[in-house]
Amino acid sequence: MKHIQNTAINYSELFDDFRHPHSGAVVLFSGEVRDNNKGRAVTHLEYEAYAPMANKMISEILEEAKSRFKLNQAACVHRVGRVEISGCAVVVITGSGHRKEAYDANRYIIDRVKNEVPIWKHEFFADGTSEWGQNCDCVSNDHHNHQHHHHYERAE
C-alpha cells in the first residue's frame, strides 16, 4: 500500500525523488521514535493500522492539502510494525513555489494524519510494561473536553 508500509521508510530516496521544476521550497517532516515519553524510558514502538482505510484516508488528506495550499507535490508514508528508537514512524513531504505554503501544508497533513487516520501506537517501556497511545501533544491535564484522551494499560 502506497501510504502504509511495514518496512523501514527510506526517506532519503523519497526526498531525492521529490524534485519539481516549479518548486522553490520542499519541506520534509519525519516523526521519529523518542527514547522517552512523559518521563518514562521507551524501548521501542509498534504501530497497528486499519491499513486499507488508513491508506485511503492519507491519500484523501494529501489531495485536499494539494488543492488547499499551492502544492506541486505531497507525499506521506506511515510505518506499521515495530519501530526502534530514532526510527522513522511517519514522513510527510511537501513541495511548493514558496516556503510558506510548503511549511503550512506539511503541518496540516501531519496534524490530520495523527488525529484522524486509524493508526495506533503501542509504546513499550523499559520497565517491561506497554501502553496504547494516547496521541495528544497537549501538556495540560484537562483531557475531559477532547476525544483523544485515552490510554489503557495492556494486561501483559
Partner: protein, 80 residues
C-alpha cells in the same frame, strides 16, 4: 441479526480481535456501542470516544445500522 465487529489496538484487550453483537432492526450504531459496553463494562470509557467504520468510511453514530458487512470499531487515533 448478529453483527461481526473487528477491533483494533487497545480494544482487543476487552473484546479480542473480533466480537459479535446481536442487533435488532432499527437499532443505531450508538445502540451497538452501548451493547458493547454492557458486554464489558471496563470498556465503557474508551467506547465513548470510538468511531465505527463500514466499508472504509466512518458512519454517523445516530444512523440505523443498515448493511450486512463487517463493522470496524475504531479507537482514537494515535499514529505519528
Amino acid at each position: 441479526m448478529n453483527r461481526k465487529i473487528v477491533c483494533f489496538a487497545g480494544l482487543k484487550k476487552f473484546f479480542g480481535d473480533e466480537t459479535s453483537v446481536e442487533v435488532a432492526p432499527e437499532e443505531s450504531y450508538a445502540n451497538l456501542l452501548e451493547k458493547l459496553g454492557e458486554l464489558n463494562p471496563e470498556a465503557k470509557e474508551v467506547l465513548t470516544s470510538c468511531r465505527i467504520a463500514v466499508n472504509e468510511k466512518f458512519v454517523p453514530l445516530d444512523e440505523t445500522i443498515k448493511d450486512q458487512t463487517t463493522l470496524f470499531l475504531i479507537p482514537p487515533s494515535s499514529g505519528g
